[in-house]
Structures are given as C-alpha cells and as structure tokens.
Symmetry: none
Subunit: 402 residues, 2 copies
C-alpha cells in the first residue's frame, strides 16, 4: 500500500478529483532573468486558478534525481519509485500498449546485426529507423511455441517489446545482451531453477526469430533485456478508495495508469479539447481522473521553448471545458521538468497548483509559474504528497485518531 495510514481513514464521498498532468511542465529561462516556458505562456485561466488556489513545487523522486516517465508517474500516483521497482520489460511493454498480466513475462528487445560467425557487429542494428523496423517486428508475430503465447510490438527504431503468457512462467532470467560487439548474444539464462522452463521457452523463441530474420541486412539478430512480470501494484481502489480513470493519448501513460488499476478511457483525437471531452464522457462513472498532456514534454525535448509555451496556452484555452464539470479538486502539475534549454528531462522541482473551492488556504500568488510556485503556500512538497492532499481536499479522509 503506498500509504498504510490512508485506507483506514477513507470515507465515502461523491466528490470528484482531477489530476491534470502536463508532461515535463517545469522549465528554465532561456535568457538570464527571463521567464520559463510556463511563465512566458499566456494562461489567464491557470492564473485565476492560482489566485484562487495554492501553489507549491513538487520534487518527483528525490532532490537532484531526474526521473524517467514511468517512475515520475508512479510518484505522482503515490507509489515511491524507490520502493516500487517495476521491471524495465514491463514498462516498455505497457508503454506500447501490451498488457502484462499476473504471471506474464515481459522483456525489452533490441534488434542487432550479426556477422557471418554469429557475433554481434552492431548492438543496435545500425539504429534502423522505425519504418524499417516495423516490418521486422511483423516477421516475429507468427512465431508459435508449445504451451504459451507471445505478443510482440514495436517500440521505436531498433527497439521492441515482447510478452510471453502461459502457466508457470518466471522472469528471473539474465539479459541476453553481452553489452559488447564481437561476441554472440548470450542465451537467456535462468538465475534460479524455477526460471529454467521460461528461459528455455525464450531461447526457443529467439532461435525461431533468428530463422525468420536471417535474410535481413541490419536486423538479423536480437538481444532481450529486463525480463519482468506484473508488479502487482496495489490498486487505486484499495489504496485510495478511488474509481479512477485515465485519459491519455500516448500508450506509455495508459500503461502506467493501468498498472495501478485505473480504467483507461478510449477516445478520438489528440488535442486537449479531445481529452477534456473524454473526461466529460467518463465523468459520471468515475471519481478520480488522470489526464495526461504529452506535448509539453515533447516540445521541451525538441528544445522548442516557444512551442512548449504554446502547448501550455492551448491547455489553458481548453480548461473551461474541464471547469464546467465542477470538479471538487483540480491539481495541475507535471510529472517532472523538461526545460527546453536542456532538451531533456531534469531534476528541477515541478510547478504544482492545487485548486479546491472552499478548502484551500490562500497564498497571495496570482500566476502559475516556477517563481510563484517557489513562493507558494504549499511550499516544497514531494510528488508523493499529491494523492493524500487531493483526498483531503475532496473530503475523503476521516480524522486520524481521536
């Protein structure tokens, strides 16, 4: 359980909580003394919410630690990533929409190039582009093995994910990547006797894959890494008493949400308006809503300061659609910072806006930005505090002790 002290305090409520995550929201100025992306963006709605609500800055994992997307979202959901480690194979798989159920074994795959002697000559198959890799993944989909099923999906460039499903599977298997060239891929080697059966199946699968790939110029081999199974995370229902829904365009975030038991909402379109329309459609069925906006992060990674600010402005313009639903608690934050100036995720704390009519202590801030959040009434918080604060402001927690 993320917070052992919370389930005994839960009480029934019809209140609705919205957690709006702008991926990579936190930023930096591109010129000395200048604004950050969020500060530069014209956000009249968020600024009004900031003046009515309270601000703070949230540290996703620990000070100085730059989070990947999976751990950053787990932290927002209250699951300390240093405590809940999720195998890389599972994250990669759920990231592309592959279901990893209890007892399934997932792995990350890299295509590689093998020379005539079977030794690896390029560990990333010449970094083949996505369009070249997709048909290679298709070649693998027809592989069948006795007693189990396998599902393969392309991830990006030379990377793919594979999930094996069946009885008595065990992920306790070493990577097959020897981490260098001039040697053949390693066999899938069990780290314990109970994983021998599974390792043998993966070796059969690899052998059949080799046969199918043999005529490819670049991607004629593969390595598998990060064997892992469903982490069996406590659900949102058990942890927080919340019937949660997830609204996201990208599979990765749907995947992480599904790992904590959120129902993933299907919808058409990719714009904030489309996501808020999906929210409206699911409003009656759920009491917690995770909405994920991806492009703030993408623009940050592109180094596109103006583009990131523009995405934030687009979310702001669509916000009235969300506010029309009258949520009891609205939190607007990011999973981590992605300053355009750095073109990558960073360790900086994330702007955090908590809005809840009637129960938020005002802090005299009137705009949503890094500087105002640093002076906000919530102060320095951990992303792990998000759900407990949301539950409290939603009237969903009883008093602790007499």
């Amino acid at each position: 359980m993320p917070f052992d002290h919370i389930p005994p305090l839960l009480r029934t409520s019809s209140s609705k909580i919205v957690l709006l995550v702008l991926d990579g929201l936190g930023g930096l100025p591109i010129e000395t003394g200048g604004p950050t992306e969020l500060e530069a963006a014209k956000t009249p709605i968020m600024d009004r919410l900031a003046s009515e609500g309270a601000l703070g800055q949230a540290t996703p994992i620990r000070p100085g630690i730059t989070p990947g997307s999976g751990p950053a979202h787990l932290a927002l959901f209250g699951y300390d990533p240093l405590e809940y480690e999720i195998g890389r194979g599972v994250l990669e798989s759920v990231g592309v929409g592959l279901h990893v159920g209890s007892g399934d074994v997932a792995a990350r795959g890299n295509f590689c190039t093998l020379d005539g002697a079977g030794n690896i000559s390029d560990r990333r198959a010449g970094r083949i582009p996505t369009e070249e890799a997709i048909p290679v993944v298709e070649q693998l989909k027809s592989i069948s093995l006795p007693g189990v099923s396998t599902e393969v999906r392309h991830v990006k460039e030379y990377r793919f994910a594979v999930v094996m499903r069946g009885e008595n599977l065990n992920p306790d298997i070493d990577d097959t990547d020897p981490q260098r060239t001039g040697v053949p891929p390693l066999p899938a080697t069990p780290r314990s006797p109970s994983a021998e059966y599974t390792a043998d199946l993966f070796n059969q699968w690899i052998a059949k894959a080799r046969q199918k790939l043999v005529d490819n110029q670049n991607a004629n081999g593969m390595t598998l890494r990060g064997f892992a199974t469903d982490p069996n995370l406590p659900t949102f229902q058990d942890s927080y008493g919340l019937n949660a829904a997830a609204i996201s365009v990208y599979p990765m975030y749907k995947g992480v949400a599904s790992l904590v038991g959120m129902q993933v909402i299907d919808f058409a379109g990719e714009a904030p308006e489309d996501e808020f329309a999906a929210l409206a459609g699911a409003w009656q069925e759920h009491d917690f809503f995770f909405i994920h906006i991806k492009k703030t992060d993408s623009k940050g990674e592109d180094g596109d300061f103006e583009g990131k600010a523009h995405i934030i402005e687009g979310v702001d313009q669509a916000l009235p659609n969300l506010l029309d639903l009258n949520p009891d608690v609205l939190i607007i934050t990011g999973d981590h910072s992605t300053p355009a100036s750095m073109r990558t995720h960073s360790w900086h704390p994330v702007p955090f806006l908590l809005w809840a009519p009637g129960s938020v202590r005002p802090d005299n801030q009137s705009s949503f930005g890094e500087r105002s959040c640093a002076r906000g009434g919530l102060g320095n918080i951990s992303s792990l505090d998000t759900l407990p604060l949301a539950l409290a402001h939603a009237g969903r927690l009883e008093k602790f002790g007499a």
Copy 2:
C-alpha cells in the same frame, strides 16, 4: 551508502564542484528587526552569485536539533547523522589529527583529580588550562604495552584523545567515567567477551598512566569515554563517484573529511586567500572540493557579531580567486548556525546558495542572507540534499528509470 539510488546513476564528467562551508554561518539579529551577521556583512560577490543562482535554507539534522560539528559536516556530506553514528572517541581523535584506521580503538580522555584514597575529587582536574595540560599529555606518550601501540594527543584544556592500534582490538567497552565524584574511576569493562583483551590493555595503559601522573597536583588521574573504532563510512568515490579534496585549517574538519575518503590538502597560512590558493593548487587533481572556513563559528561563539560579519566579508573579498577557477557548481553554506547573540551553535536552518551557470532556476533574490534564503527558490531543504543537488547540477547523474 548515503543514497542507494545514486551510484547506479553516476556518469563520468570532468565537471568541478566546490562546497564552501562557512562554519556556523547562520545567525540572528542582535536588535529587533535588525540584520543578521550575514545580512549586515557587505558581500557584493555573494550577492551577485545569489542573484545568478538560487537560494534556500538547509536544516542540518532535523528541525529543532542543534548539531555538533561532526554530525553537521556528515549531514552536509550526505551521511545522515541519525543513521551513521560515529563514536565520540573517533570524532575527538580525528578532530586533533589522530588517524583512526580499521581495527583501531579510539577514546576520549578527561584528566581528573584523585584524592588520597583514589576517589575522584574533580572530574575535570580543576579545568586545567591548555598550557598546563600539554606537558601532562607528553608524560603519557612514553607508555608502551605489549602487542599494541598507542598514540595520545591533547584536545583542549583537560581533554585528550588516545588511539590504540594492534590486532584483535574491539571497542565494545564501557566508559570509565563514573559521572560523579567521591568514587574511583571505573575500570575499562568489556561489554562482550570479544572486548576483554582490549579492555585489559586499556586498564594496563591507565595503570601506567597513573604512575606517571602521580605527582601532578590537578591532573593525577583520568577517565576514558566513547571507545570506538573506524566507522568504515562509504567513501565519496563509492557514494558519488567523486575524487574529493578537503581544504581546512582546523584538524577536526580534516578528520571528518578523511573519514569519508577525501584527500586532505596541506597548505600554509590560515586566511581565505590561503585556502583558495590551496584550492587552485589541487584543482587539476580532484573534482570535488570541500573548503572549510572556521572563524565565522569562532566569532559567533565569542558573541562577536561585528567580528563574524567581518570574517564573512573577508571570504567575499577572496571569492574572485575561487571563481577564476570556473567551477561548474559552487555551493556556499554553513554546517549549522552560530548566532553571535546566542554564543553557541543553534538549530536554526542555514543559508544555502547554489550557483551553477545555465542550470539553476532563478528565484528573484539578489542578496545572500537569512531572509532572502527563506524566500529562495530552493525552499526548505535538508543539508542531506547538498550532494545530490551538486551532482545533478554538475551533470553527473543519469536519468532514473525509463
């Protein structure tokens, strides 16, 4: 390891980190509404660094806890003093430059006065002054015992430290100080059978010492406390991938730095300019530099508000020598507060300045002082966050998770 999650994230870098510690930096006003020592000091360089960097206030151990020098520095170095307990005998010994290696046993000693019956009449030997105690310590240096060597060094007034070196030593021994007068000192008593041999050696050493001291008027006896051995702290190299150097005038701080594997730099002089010259001399050989300024604390303990401000001004004037080296990260802070108004260490958080070109989020503060730090963008942090933040800003940490 101070942070188990950090070593797997370390990456190679040529960046340089400087941690400049002004001992007891934090202060208080001496008149209502007036400035603190740091605020009263004219510090144009630190003020510029504050405007370019980010400020915060760091709690050394826990809120309300006034740290001693040893724990305060351990906290700055990332080693939680509540987790890493270092025996007082070791701290006292390394504090006066005595090496405590693996398997050595160190103890703190107090000279005391014994009456004709051998009972303690004064537990601190009349608080004999240093000049009187030094020759007494000299008397102890000639004591020899079979199979081990001992090293004794004077600390201050009636206090000294002793280190025993040899095979099969064990520090699991009770203090010999009965904590009251009218009774004889206790024998060194082992708390476990494996410490019997060591306790016996210390009792032999005490007996020989008694013979040598018998004619002294005040210091004719002694008690030993805090038996302890090398804590085997994880090194800076293992914990942070840093080849660290320590620059300090005072042995205590060299000692604590050496416990975490820093190389102590020898140099001549005592002024900040001398310490920064030593820094320049060691610049190529190391990538992390701990520089310790003692006199801010000394002036605070003297109750000398103006004197403490003057020391801070002297450091500020010398800072260009440090900045000329172009560090990638510079942190200026204290190990704890020593308000001149209190004439002692205090529990107040410590001003914290983080400067790192290009990666610091600005916070609209333009001077280095307690009030500006309380409003700074870093917010309330723990001294334990110092190294993780330094590593992040120095580009020395990979992303956590995918």
